[in-house]
Amino acid sequence: MSSIRVAGLTGAALAGLAMLVPLAASGHHSFAMFDHVHRVTLAGTVTRFQWTNPHVFIELDVPEANGQTKHFSIECASPNVLMRGGWKYTDVKVGDKVKLLINPLKDGSAGGMLEEATLADGRTLGDSNPPGGVFER
């Protein structure tokens, strides 16, 4: 089971609400689907931004060297967690050009878990998933 090293949340105003929750107690094992060591940065265009529970999703079209486009589904934290980490539901829109640092799916399919996003306006926001922590690398 991955252990957790703490990173501070972005969003100074929400510092008082930061929470560190031990993953083992929550029983949410799906983080294990993702490779937390071999991270990848995707640069592409947002085709959908699903601001829903249990996970926010960013759908991304990424241009490839051969001129084709590869589509990725990127899982983020719950909107509840993201908001406490400084996100607003308006921070990402269809058509935005973004860079996403992701932990890709271990099975090799075109998806992953968000670690950090560089938004269209240049701001970076962390995922805070699990709440308040990052994975030991």
Binding site: M1, G8, A18, G27, M33, T47, H55, H71, S78, D107
Partner: protein, 251 residues
């Protein structure tokens, strides 16, 4: 002079009466929204060791239950390592129920009204109601459910709560098994003006050798407004091997 003395006596008596009324008549105020204590914020001071939750007591399952439980945990760890995590209730947007909903993974909200304490867990909008001063029901009269039936009363500064009727499919804290005979006792107490402990003791004559006790600690979060949580779009699904997968989209 006599009037002044008399006024002072009356004032002193009134003050004493107020103090004793507050101490004896009004229970502590647990209302508000609460986040995990100590939590972790940039630049925060280290937590007060007197306020941190004490370590949990040992989990002593009867052998018949201990072995499958350990085997299940080992299988979970092994599947996680392979990157093929086994699915569980949260994969399917199913609430934790009692007592796991009390774990402060997200904030909780406590409402104190006459004759009732209501607790809302932000994660999956779980609600439980504690009926004050009412006798507890017989377990067999409670339709088995996620949250059970809770009654409570104040013992001085401690709210003592008894819960029965959680169904067996709703696993306990750390996915522990339990029977229909499980009884959960909680002792809620402010260990500081804005730090609350929920000491949970699980008894189960069928599955446990001895009662299992653990404590969750919360910090009051004035001004925090609870968010909704409707588990509507679960892109994680369970495949035919019981493994959690993520549903990808084409666009």
């Amino acid at each position: 002079m006599k009037t002044l003395l008399l006024s002072l006596v009356v004032l002193a008596a009134a003050a004493a009466a107020f103090a004793s009324a507050t101490a004896a008549g009004s229970p502590p105020d647990l209302s508000g929204t609460w986040s995990v204590y100590p939590g972790r914020a940039k630049g925060s001071t280290p937590p007060d060791p007197k306020l941190v939750a004490p370590p949990p007591g040992p989990l002593l399952l009867k052998p018949k239950y201990a072995q499958p439980y350990e085997a299940m945990r080992a299988k979970q760890r092994e599947s996680d390592q392979r990157g093929e995590p086994l699915a569980n209730a949260s994969t399917e947007c199913i609430p934790n129920g009692m007592p796991t909903m009390m774990f402060p993974i997200y904030p909780i909200e406590i409402l104190q009204t006459r004759g009732q304490v209501t607790i809302i867990q932000e994660a999956m909008s779980q609600v439980r109601r504690i009926y004050l001063g009412q006798p507890q029901m017989k377990i067999e009269d409670v339709p088995p459910g996620y949250f059970g039936h809770s009654v409570g009363h104040w013992e001085g500064d401690t709210l003592v709560v008894d819960t029965v009727g959680v169904k067996e499919e709703v696993l306990g804290y750390k996915d522990t098994p339990h029977s229909s005979q499980m009884r959960i006792t909680e002792r809620f107490r402010l260990v500081a003006p804005d730090v609350l402990h929920d000491q949970i003791t699980v008894e189960d004559p069928v599955t446990l050798e001895k009662p299992w006790t653990y404590t969750f600690a919360y910090r009051r979060n004035p001004g925090y407004q609870m968010l909704e949580y409707v588990c509507e779009n679960n892109r994680e699904y369970v495949d035919d091997k019981g493994v959690t997968r993520m549903r990808l989209q084409d666009r």
